[in-house]
């Protein structure tokens, strides 16, 4: 801890927003975070394929709850709609198509486990350092909702409209690419038959 951090911490304690006197919301936030972390670890370590997908549901749903606790309501519902409602359903659909068995699938493990562990730890360390360094003792006032949809829409389509459009072009390119790949395969198989 650097020399300047301690007085700042003490000042924070005095104003009632320090780490030693957590509010109810903060405690719930931490509890949900523990659940998310646990579900995420179970998701990557479980040998039952479908169980792993369902642990992913818990982890992603827990994240939505965290957004809600931070009053980012719109993002929370988008998280549920996109990840729980579509991505996980697509995952389960894929697992069903490959006839995921009931019970453990021992061949689902790969030899890359240590490498994956190193990569994930490095990524986590980078992100935590970044977030801690960027925000330090910044305080979010949770009494006024921040993630209201009208405010989000204003900033998205006024200040951030260029990245937004760039992203939509990227998605369009992915869509066109998917169509091209699927059509090319069909032509091949028709030639093969003829």
């Amino acid at each position: 801890m650097s020399a300047g951090a301690l007085p700042a911490l003490l000042a924070a304690e005095e104003s009632g927003r320090g780490v030693l006197s957590p509010s109810g919301v903060e405690i719930v936030f931490l509890l949900v975070a523990v659940v998310v972390l646990g579900a995420a670890i179970l998701c990557v370590t479980s040998r039952h394929l479908v169980h792993a997908a369902l642990y992913l549901v818990v982890a992603l749903g827990g994240l939505a709850v965290e957004y809600l606790l931070l009053t980012a309501e719109f993002i929370a519902w988008v998280q549920v709609l996109i990840y729980l409602g579509s991505v996980v359903v697509l995952l389960l659909f894929g697992l069903m198509l490959t006839r995921a068995p009931i019970g453990p699938s021992p061949d689902a493990d790969s030899a890359n486990r240590p490498v994956a562990l190193v990569v994930s730890l490095a990524a986590a360390a980078t992100l935590v350092t970044l977030v801690v360094d960027a925000f330090r003792t910044t305080w979010i006032d949770l009494d006024t909702p921040h993630g209201r949809s009208d405010a989000l829409g204003e900033s998205l389509f006024r200040a951030w409209v260029l990245p937004f459009e760039a992203l939509s072009v990227l998605l369009l390119a992915a869509l066109v690419g998917a169509i091209v790949i699927s059509r090319a395969r069909r032509d091949d198989s028709e030639e093969g038959r003829g």
Binding site: V50, L84, L92
Partner: protein, 319 residues
């Protein structure tokens, strides 16, 4: 918001959740019977068999609750709850009348209901996979494919109303409602209602549970109370989709004397739409799985996009 207020609202939503699906179920018995030249249940409870579903419930509760030997036990048992609970949660956000006659005002209400509705499908997928039965697996796969196809038109149609009203809040949409929104958004209403019926696997979109070909799909192995919970989820789904269509496209509580009779107009509109759902079951034969996919991608999605374009043009012209 004090504790008493919150308790009252929760109890009211729970009561609506327990009573309305049963009313729809009983109406289905009687309406189907009369459309087919029968009289339907006449004995249970005396007057026109009004207690038939209560009797059914008692029967389901008495049945043995079996879990197949090869099934994934915990997921199999959890699935009905995952399928049912989201519909109860969604009811919280649907406004019944003006002036705060709603379980809880949600700022991004449209997103909230669509997001939570999608979770219910997870329950059916869990049941379909965990049963360890090929019919259940087929049913689960058809369920997932159908959800993929119909989620898009459902959201696009809802987005059209959101554009028209300029708000994501269900109460906000009703506050801004004008009578001419009905003809303006009529195509969107058709798309939303049809896609909603398809997500519930109601006939004619019931290929995922088709009793005559894949023996009730994901529900094949379920018996007793858990099967009843899946059925209850279906009827609760009818209520939710009809109520949402009424709110988004037909003005919810708007009508003569909205302050006194708003709740009545809302319930009547919902009931009329529920009647349409039942009527569709009697009127149309089941579509094949591929016809269902084709209908979504070649009819509903283009219609929904056309509705959004129309909404955008009109919105720019009048503003």
């Amino acid at each position: 918001m004090d504790l008493l207020d919150v308790t009252l609202r929760v109890v009211a939503v729970l009561a609506a959740f327990l009573v309305l699906p049963l009313l729809v179920g009983q109406a289905e018995h009687k309406v189907m019977a009369h459309m087919q030249g029968r009289v339907g249940p006449m004995h249970a409870g005396g007057f026109h068999g009004w207690a038939q579903l209560v009797a059914d419930g008692v029967k389901f509760a008495q049945k043995e609750d079996t879990v197949p030997t090869g099934a994934d036990r915990r997921i199999f048992q959890l699935a009905p709850a995952v399928a049912l609970v989201p519909y109860c949660v969604v009811l919280v956000a649907i406004p019944l009348g003006p002036g705060g006659l709603v379980g809880q005002v949600v700022d991004a209400g449209v997103f909230f209901v669509l997001a939570v509705l999608g979770i219910g499908i997870l329950g059916q997928l869990m049941g379909g996979w965990a049963s360890n039965n090929k019919y259940s697996m087929l049913g689960g796969m058809r369920t997932a494919a159908q959800l993929m196809a119909y989620e898009l038109p459902l959201i696009l149609a809802a987005a059209s109303v959101v554009m028209a009203a300029g708000t994501l809040s269900l109460t906000g949409i009703l506050d801004g409602f004008q009578w001419w929104w009905v003809p303006w958004q009529l195509v969107g209403a058709f798309v939303f209602f049809t896609a909603g019926i398809a997500e519930l696997h109601r006939p004619p979109f019931d290929a995922p549970i088709a009793p005559e070909e894949i023996v009730f799909g994901a529900f094949t192995e379920y018996s007793g109370l858990r099967f009843a919970l899946f059925l209850l989820a279906e009827y609760a789904g009818i209520v939710v989709i009809s109520a949402l269509t009424a709110v988004l496209f037909f003005g919810g509580w708007h009508g003569p004397l909205p302050d006194q009779l708003g709740w009545l107009w809302m319930l009547l509109k919902t009931a009329a739409l529920c009647f349409l759902v039942i009527w569709a079951r009697v009127a149309w034969p089941r579509l094949r799985a591929d016809q269902i996919q084709k209908f979504a991608w070649t009819v509903l999605v283009p219609l929904a996009l056309a509705q959004i374009a129309l909404t955008g043009v009109v919105k720019v012209v009048i503003s």
